[in-house]
């Protein structure tokens, strides 16, 4: 029997944590931090290693490169990126947990680490088993159709089409069951009582190609990943999975506009250091990574990737809150759909 997800309105609200960016970073979030911080006991005396649990070409690889560049610009300390892709981030996380907690190894990871812990508590909890340095990208999801689509023009039309298709309509999505994308789609289909066939693509290019080539009817994705298609007017968003419309998509309905009451799940990417790292080193790394967020090169990168539409910055405590909230929400959902007890 299909289990429906009950919206978790009473839970600690992610909407509180979202925060819409105002005047396009007239004042950057970490402008209050000191411009320089002495290296504690000479740390770091050599290059840092950043373990990235995904390949160099994707969103994680790109943000790792941008942050490493910003930290190096700020501090002069080189950062070597060590990509260890596989197992939806599990391999990189496992390798990182085996590295010495001396501050020379840092980890990039995304919200998948939180959902993995929610599903299997033996997996590390990024909020408590690691020390978050900074969250530097937070974004939301949208549903896209082709701009030249004739069968439906907007979200309402799409829902009508899906109902009539009786399970035959298709949407390109990621493959992993229990992922942010799959759970979000479940929220949508539960709300309308509709069935839609999700086609599993684990790489971006074939997923976008499937929509561009008419192999699928719609696409579930985050705006920064398909910005090129949006600028070229090949794709258009028909639903934003946020409670409010961000200014850049003011003509696209939000879930609230469409009468949905669930808490939207967010995609976030951040940087961590191992628990047990000497506190003075942690403090320096927190300063370096948080301050680097405001480096011009990093801000330009985030803007290019549409990561400035909602507030993308969280410091250590902010990241812990974000992760804890996210884990609680995933746990509720997984229990409801029978993925965990």
């Amino acid at each position: 029997m299909k289990r429906h997800i009950k919206p978790t309105i009473g839970a600690l609200s992610l909407a509180v944590a979202i925060g819409f960016s105002g005047q396009a970073f007239a004042a950057c979030a970490t402008d209050g931090l000191p411009a320089k911080l002495d290296k504690p006991g000479g740390f770091p005396a050599r290059a840092l290693t950043m373990i990235v649990p995904y390949g160099p070409g994707g969103g994680s690889g790109q943000v790792a490169r941008a942050m490493a560049q910003a930290v190096t610009e700020l501090t002069g300390v080189a950062i070597n990126r060590d990509h260890k892709p596989g197992g939806s981030g599990t391999v990189g996380m496992t390798a990182y947990m085996a590295a010495p907690a001396d501050g020379y190894s840092v980890l990039e990871h995304i919200d998948d680490a939180s959902s993995a812990h929610a599903l299997d508590p033996s997996r590390p909890n990024p909020a408590t088993d690691l020390i978050p340095l900074v969250t530097s990208q937070i974004t939301f999801s949208q549903v896209y159709i082709r701009t030249n689509e004739t069968r439906f023009k907007d979200w309402k039309g799409f829902v009508d089409y899906v109902k009539k298709a009786n399970g035959k309509a298709t949407i390109a999505n990621v493959s992993k069951e229990g992922s942010m994308e799959r759970i979000s789609m479940r929220y949508l289909t539960d709300h309308y009582g509709i069935k839609i066939q999700q086609i599993s693509f684990d790489k971006g290019a074939p997923r976008y190609g499937a929509l561009a080539g008419g192999q699928v009817d719609a696409l579930f994705e985050q705006p920064g990943d398909v910005r090129g298609f949006l600028d070229a007017k090949k794709f258009k968003p028909i639903l934003t999975l946020l409670k409010e419309r961000p200014a850049a998509f003011s003509d696209v309905p939000s879930i609230t506009d469409e009468g949905m009451k669930f808490e939207p799940l967010l995609r976030f990417r951040g940087f961590y250091v191992a628990k047990g790292t000497p506190p003075d080193r942690v403090k320096w790394l927190q300063w370096a990574f948080q301050k680097a967020f405001c480096q011009e090169s990093y801000q330009k990168y985030n803007e290019k990737k549409f990561m400035n539409l909602i507030e993308s910055y969280r410091d250590t405590d902010g990241t812990k809150n974000l992760i804890t909230t996210t884990i609680n929400q995933y746990r509720d959902v997984y229990k409801q759909i029978g993925l965990s007890k």
């Binding site: 160099p56 596989g86 390798a95 086609i199 090949k234």
Partner: protein, 503 residues
């Protein structure tokens, strides 16, 4: 078009900076492609941050030249030492290395040079003619059902490569298919065959497997011969293939250009599958299927023509649609973004000059491969004069570095040595290591696209009837299977087979 090409060529060669970048990319790609452990991707990753200081045109041009020369570079070590410099060159080793053992290294390297240059040049020309229409046609007509059908078509012939009997050929392919199952399943992300060992969740990567089955097992085999006193060093030959030999292979070359180009334009597929599919088709249409995997020049020609034909083609979805076909083209997206640009339809409108400089650079890079490659043929083949006891440790070291460099995982080194030991025993008992590698590579792509196809077709296999391209490929694959089984069951009566049996 010609006017645009001339304009692009003039822009490319009118600036000393652009010429320097072109030459550096050409030589760097060849070098990094040829040395196992590093690849053109390593070079591209190192250079990526520096492209911010170049113009957008020079940055993209540099990457496209590295792509062309890097795909070629890996053929040399594949042929001489059984170590493919890059995954795109793995099928080149299937027949290239046996040719080296037979004293035909010069011929194999020469064929690789000429075919790489020819395949790449043809691809660059096709790219110039019709980038946008081809890209739109590919994504509209080639979805997961068709890609699965293509993989099935390729797998159907995989059992014919290198095994002593059809059944051993199929068992080899099945081993590869089973290895492809390790890791997360491509549909629901379910963990499979990890035995509680998290690193296995990343799956068995085909690069360490190839290095193990080919390079490591070869070192073991030669070491055993050395110990027994039966070792014979490969003869060094500098013979370039004759025009007549190439003329005999004209259909194989034309077919491989088409296959390479076709695989290249499919987003997410790229040059590796192109090389394997090109090789498979050589086997399917070859007069003597049993000669493949044992030093058939057509195998080298097909693999190298296909992988370089895929380079120009892979630029088509990237430039026309913003869809990278592989890791290097994904990095090119990064170069575009560093210059506040996005690849896609607007590039042709907003940056036509950039596009034509890139097209011209790829064309001239492939022409240059011919001349530089010819020089390489006359020089690097002499590496075979190095005595085995010096060469073997270097091969093992390079293979170890190569296995680790792919994902930075120690388990890949373990996989490589296990594959080496397995290959040592499998090769002497008539099983085909190329079949295992084909099963591993095609199995991963095949499983994923089959699952996607079933989701798209609502788990109704008969829906293939409404997709003519997929239907033709599936039917072709089935016919190949039936024909190979028929050939095995029905006794052979040809005179030369009888003679062989009598021996």
């Amino acid at each position: 078009m010609i006017e645009n090409f001339i304009t692009g060529s003039v822009a490319l060669f009118s600036s000393p900076v652009s010429i320097s970048i072109f030459v550096a990319g050409l030589l760097g790609g060849m070098l990094f492609g040829a040395v196992p452990g590093v690849s053109m991707l390593t070079l591209a990753a190192i250079l990526l941050p520096f492209t911010a200081h170049l113009t957008a045109t020079d940055g993209i041009m540099l990457f496209s030249v590295i792509y062309c020369s890097g795909v070629f570079g890996g053929a040399i070590t594949a042929i001489l030492f059984n170590i493919p410099g890059a995954p795109e060159n793995a099928p080149t080793a299937f027949d290239g290395y046996p040719m080296t053992r037979k004293g035909q290294a010069g011929k194999a390297v020469g064929a690789a040079v000429l075919c790489s240059a020819f395949g790449g040049t043809m691809s660059a020309l096709l790219m110039m003619f019709a980038t946008e229409p081809i890209a739109n046609w590919a994504i509209s007509n080639f979805g997961p059902p068709e890609i699965f059908a293509l993989v099935f078509f390729g797998l159907a012939v995989a059992s014919s490569v290198g095994a002593s009997t059809l059944w051993k050929g199929w068992l080899s392919v099945m081993i590869g298919l089973v290895l492809a199952l390790v890791g997360l399943d491509p549909v629901g992300g379910i963990e499979r065959y990890d035995f509680g060992f998290p690193y296995l969740l990343a799956g068995i990567h085909f690069i360490p497997t190839i290095l193990g089955f080919f390079a490591v097992s070869e070192v073991f085999i030669q070491a055993e011969r050395k110990a027994k006193g039966t070792y014979e060093a490969p003869k060094v030959s500098l013979d370039f293939p004759s025009f007549l030999e190439f003329w005999r292979l004209k259909f194989a070359v034309a077919r491989s250009v088409c296959i390479g180009f076709f695989c290249g334009i499919l987003p997410g597929i790229g040059a590796t599958l192109a090389a394997f599919m090109g090789y498979n088709e050589a086997v399917r249409w070859g007069r003597d299927k049993t000669s493949f995997g044992k030093g058939n020049l057509e195998g080298v020609v097909s693999s190298e023509t296909s992988n370089n034909a895929a380079t120009g083609a892979a630029m088509i979805p990237l430039l026309a649609l913003g869809l990278p076909g592989g890791a290097l083209t994904a990095m090119m997206v990064g170069v575009f973004q560093m210059h506040d640009m996005e690849p896609g339809p607007l590039v042709f409108i907003n940056s036509a000059e950039l596009v034509w400089v890139v097209f011209a650079a790829m064309f001239w890079a492939n022409i240059s491969i011919f001349f530089l490659g010819w020089l390489q043929t006359k020089t690097v083949v002499h590496l075979l004069r190095v005595p085995f006891h010096y060469l073997a440790p270097v091969i093992l070291l390079m293979a170890t570095v190569g296995a680790y460099a792919v994902r930075g995982l120690t388990i890949d080194i373990l996989v490589m040595f296990l594959a080496g030991i397995a290959g040592f025993f499998l090769r002497r008992s008539g099983y085909a290591v190329p079949g295992i590698v084909l099963g591993l590579i095609l199995g991963k792509i095949g499983e994923q696209t089959f699952a996607q196809a079933m989701q798209m077709l609502h788990y109704d296999v008969t829906a293939y009837l409404g997709r003519p391209i997929g239907l033709v490929l599936i039917a072709g694959g089935l016919l190949t299977l039936i024909a190979s089984i028929y050939r095995t069951i029905v006794p052979k009566t040809e005179p030369h087979r009888v003679e062989q049996a009598a021996e």
